[in-house]
Amino acid sequence: MGRFISNFKLQGDKVIWIIIFLLSIISLLVVYSSTGTLAYKVKGGNTSYFFIKQLVLLLGCYFIIWVTHKIPYKHYSSWANMGLFIAIGMLLLAKIVGVNLNQASRWITIPGIGFNFQPSELAKLALILFVSRILSKFQTDRECQKEAFWKIIAAIGVVCGIIFLDDFSTSALLGGICLMLMFIGRIAAKYLLGTFGAGLGLIIILLIIAPFLPNSFGRIHTVRNRILNFAGIGEKKTDDGRNYQVDQAKIAVVSGGIIGKGPGNSDQRNFLPHPYSDFIYAIILEELGWFGGFGILALYLFLIYRAGSIVRKCDRTFPAFLVIGLSLSIVAQALTNMAVSVNLIPVTGQPLPLVSMGGTSLIFTSAALGMILSVSRSVKEQEELNHAED
């Protein structure tokens, strides 16, 4: 069987490949349906523009996955340090010269091709790589050495600190994943609790003093407003005092029902802001109903299940941490997107990995998946080798 896959040069866990394929099909369907409004806004009604763009991007993603899964994971470990430095450098660059979108300096325009690049996506990948590397490096039989904790905390502090002001949710999400990873990496519980407490405290303090901070102080005001809105005591956005985006999303979710309106039949895409990214899950529920909505959730859960089975077969710590960290990151992001769409948590702009439109997220999600598959490939080859030796 392994032979067969290697003939097609697609290696690693078949199920993960299938999950990737299914997700990208859903992505094409929903992006095509939900970009109508945007197409009228910026492309004069050429509705196939974004479909083709997404198709090309997805094909690019397959290529990236293919390349990254061919690269032995050992290399990733050795690139971790460098990757982190590059990521931090780019984050700082974005803060200085970045394109200001929604009052957030989160983007860098790459000269020449006019592609908006979001360095925080790179930073996410790099940080997980780095944490995995450090954790495995300082792993002893009983626990992880203290030194590892401080190194990791320093890295998280710098990266999340930079992202924090412009992109609260990404920063919090990343911090959370890293904490989980450290927990799995057997860092002593007291440190973790301390870090968690300190982080939470800092956030709460910032939110409380937000009204007294100058406007230049990032997006802390927006974060505060969204949280207050969620709690129902915030600044009113619509006529009858409810939050517009949330209302529209709820309408989408409800009107989809169990079987959905069918692909391309969404009505709410015309009213929801960013129906092709932040609120794509609401559109999926509207068009594809429970089958699509819960199906896609199942796909992500299946992804971490498969990741878990890869981890179990790992005989080294770095690939295990890497696979867990990356898969958790993808799934946590997916759940965040879904939770926003169904109004479980305050509004925040997390794309649905591999489904939402948006180049940077797609590229780095692909890279992450490629890395998971790379580990899977090595594990399989190792297994086959073991069998051969038997």
């Binding site: 109508g36 409004t37 945007l38 197409a39 009228y40 806004k41 910026v42 009604g45 509705t47 989980m180 927990f183 799995i184 057997r186 209302d247 709820k250 309408i251 979710v253 409800v254 009107s255 989809g256 029902g257 169990i258 009505d267 709410q268 015309n270 009213f271 529920l285 429970w290 909505g293 819960f294 959730l297 992500y300 859960l301 971490i304 878990g308 981890v311 179990r312 867990i324 958790l328 799934v331 946590a332 759940l335 879904m338 939770a339 169904v342 109004n343 479980l344």
Partner: protein, 698 residues
């Protein structure tokens, strides 16, 4: 590995939360949100129908609607990106400043900029208070940004229509006007506009719009149906005559108000109805109330016709009988009845008593014959249909009042006073109807105001004349009272109306009535004259009532109301009989192609198509054309209509001319009928908006 398990459990828990949240929303909040979904993704837009025209009997326009547009801008239009906005805002501000001329371009720029970037209410922002007409709108649609589609440029124009009466103030009360209804729509409330609201308003269309791909697209449209046109019985020339004659007299006698109605004897068609009242603010006479229909007052001596008819019908008197009027004063209980002629007429005939309008004579006769059976007298009046309204379709008809013995207010002197037109009430139109019935050989016609209802030239409904009462009295009585009514003009109180070319029959009325503004204590005079002409073969009946003339200048019916009657009768007689045009039927048959008017190309196309006439429109590219006849086809040539210069409307029909001139911003006054022969401002000359232009039609 248990640590991984903890993390996975957390994730699965979160996933479970998402699923249950979806189920919760759908099951428990489902109905609420589904209802809201309905309300936002679809909307119905009303497409207003064009209101029908109100026309005179000959088809000339009395009231018509002309479209105007309110300009608003949607700064959140889907395609109006910041880039597009910034690129165009300066030039747009310059254009707007130049167009409206009320603010500098920098002020406009600031207004637009603030609306776009600093305002929370940046949808449907009003650009300028002023509403623009169709041609101006065309110009505005060439401005930067506005020349883009509304989705990109954000321009929103809301159409409204303005009701205009081209013959300014001609029967405007009877034509009526529009008021704002419950919604924001205009509804005909008064006069014919109100009466035929349902016919005129048409049926609004509904365009169901659905938001699809960022655009509101019509998914289902019910087209509007234009309102029907109302062809009234009003003759513009007669109306003009009646109105100016009334005005002149009101001014001469400083009267408070007055009305004059002209009715066609045979049909009851109202050919003219003028109502003028002194507007205390402007000190001018204007159509402020429909007195002719709405105001019931004590008619005075014009009511003596009814009394004498009752006496004749019951056979109590003959015109030749004598009656002693004594010294002009007669006492009924404590109250003195006086004749206006001081000293009295002594012993006179019944005929004379009527012609000279002797109060003593008539009241004595009535009192003498009906004192013991007053019910008989009242029953007679009822038989003359004086106690009932005319069942007018127009709202607000004043109720006539005829007391019945035993009713509240009935007293011993009621009978004599009623006999001379006091303690009873009639509206001018009711009085006219009664006199018209005499002229019409006893047949009482219902007044009609509308001939036909048309839709795009096709007759939908024709209003036939209606008889209220077939015969008021015997032929014998009729012959006698006609002779008396003629005698009023020949020998009686209205000799000033006598003329050599035709005869008038009628009755003067001079009443002292309570001033409605100042209460019963304060009495004012009301002069009236009701009658018909020519007396030998009545064609028209007419009533003139003038309220509260200046006592020092005069107050008698013959003196104040009579001349108005005579002026109207003279001119109407002249126009009806002397100027009757020779028939031209045979000539017309020889012309194969109709001589056409100039005008709107689309309209003419329809006309010529209907007539099966070939058209040569090869040279034409605009909306407005000149036509000329070449052998058997009609050739179109362009007529250039320039917005800034006075348009040339010569040769056009009134509707087209009015449309073009009003849209150009001119105020139009019209004289004559037919097609435009002369215009007071030369074509191609400069003008300012609101300038007055006279056009002469023939």
């Amino acid at each position: 590995m248990w640590r991984v398990g903890v993390c996975y459990t957390l994730i699965v828990l979160l996933a479970f939360c998402v699923v249950s949240r979806v189920v919760y929303l759908q099951v428990f909040e489902g109905d609420d949100w589904r209802g809201r979904a309905q309300s936002i993704s679809k909307k119905d837009i009303t497409v207003y129908a064009n209101r029908g025209d109100i026309c005179a009997a000959d088809g000339r326009l009395l009231a018509s609607s002309i479209p105007y547009y309110e300009l608003r801008m949607d700064f959140q239009a889907m395609g109006l990106t910041n880039d597009i906005f910034k690129k165009n805002v300066d030039s747009l501000a310059i254009c707007l400043s130049r167009f409206f001329g009320d603010k500098s371009s920098s002020a406009y720029r600031r207004q637009l900029w603030d609306a776009k970037f600093h305002s929370t209410r940046n949808r449907y922002v009003l650009i300028n208070q002023r509403k623009v007409n169709y041609n101006e709108l065309k110009q505005i649609k060439t401005f930067p940004l506005f020349r883009l589609s509304s989705n990109k440029g954000g321009l929103i124009c809301l159409q409204e229509s303005k009701r205009v009466q081209p013959h300014i103030n001609l029967a405007s009360r009877t034509i009526g006007y529009l008021n704002k209804g419950n919604g924001n729509e205009l509804i005909g409330k008064v006069g014919l506009e109100g009466l035929f609201e349902n016919e005129l308003k048409g049926i609004d269309g509904i365009s169901m719009m659905q938001k699809m791909s960022g655009k509101w697209l019509p998914v289902n449209q019910a087209d509007p149906k234009d309102g029907n046109d109302i062809i009234t019985t009003i003759d513009v020339n007669f109306q003009d005559v009646a109105q100016s004659a009334l005005l002149q007299q009101l001014q001469a006698y400083h009267a408070d108000h007055g009305s004059a109605i002209l009715m066609e004897v045979e049909t009851g068609a109202i050919k003219a109805i003028a109502n003028l009242g002194l507007d205390s603010e402007t000190n001018k006479y204007e159509e402020i109330y429909n007195y002719a229909i709405g105001e019931a007052t004590e008619p005075g001596s014009t009511f003596k016709l009814a009394s004498i008819m009752a006496l004749l019908e019951d056979g109590y008197v003959q015109p030749t009988d004598s009656i002693d009027t004594g010294n002009g004063i007669h006492r009924f209980y404590k109250d003195k009845m006086r004749d206006s002629h001081v000293g009295g007429y002594g012993m006179i005939s019944v005929q004379e008593a009527f012609e000279k309008s002797s109060n003593v004579g008539i009241s004595k006769l009535v009192n003498q014959h009906y004192k013991d059976k007053p019910r008989d007298f009242i029953n007679r009046l009822s038989a003359f249909r004086l106690n009932k309204t005319l069942d007018l379709d127009i709202k607000g008809e004043g109720r006539p009042k005829i007391k019945y013995p035993g009713e509240e207010g009935w007293s011993g002197i009621s009978l004599p006073w009623m006999s001379i037109g006091y303690e009873v009430q009639q509206t001018p139109l009711q009085t006219l109807c009664f006199y018209n019935a005499i002229a019409n050989n006893g047949k009482m016609m219902k007044p009609i105001f509308v001939h036909e209802i048309k839709y795009h030239g096709k007759v939908l409904k024709h209003f036939d004349e209606e008889v209220l009462k077939n015969s008021l009295c015997s032929r014998e009585t009729l012959r006698k009272v006609k002779s008396m009514l003629e005698g009023v003009v020949l020998r009686g109180t209205a000799t000033n109306l006598r003329n050599s070319s035709y005869s008038i029959a009628g009755k003067t009325g001079t009443a002292q009535i309570a001033d409605k503004n100042k209460g019963y204590g304060h009495k004012v005079y009301q002069a009236s004259f009701a009658g018909y002409f020519p007396a030998d073969a009545p064609k028209y009946s007419c009533v003139v009532v003038i309220n509260s003339p200046d006592k020092k200048k005069g107050f008698y019916g013959n003196q104040v109301a009579g001349p108005v009657f005579k002026t109207i009768a003279d001119k109407v007689y002249a126009m009806t009989y002397a100027m009757h045009p020779p028939k031209q039927d045979e000539q017309i048959c020889e012309i194969k192609v109709p001589i056409s008017l100039n005008g709107n190309k689309d309209d003419l196309d329809i006309v010529f198509k209907e007539l099966n006439v070939s058209i040569d429109d090869r040279e034409v590219y605009g909306d407005w054309v000149l036509t000329s006849r070449q052998d058997s086809i009609i050739k179109y040539k362009n007529r250039i209509i320039n917005n800034h210069l006075v348009p040339n409307v010569k040769g056009m029909g009134i509707q087209d001319a009015l449309y073009i001139l009003e849209n150009a911003g001119l105020k139009v006054k019209i004289n004559g009928f037919g097609s435009v022969k002369k215009q007071s401002l030369n074509p191609g000359s400069n003008f300012r908006s609101g300038d007055l232009i006279y056009i002469e039609l023939s």
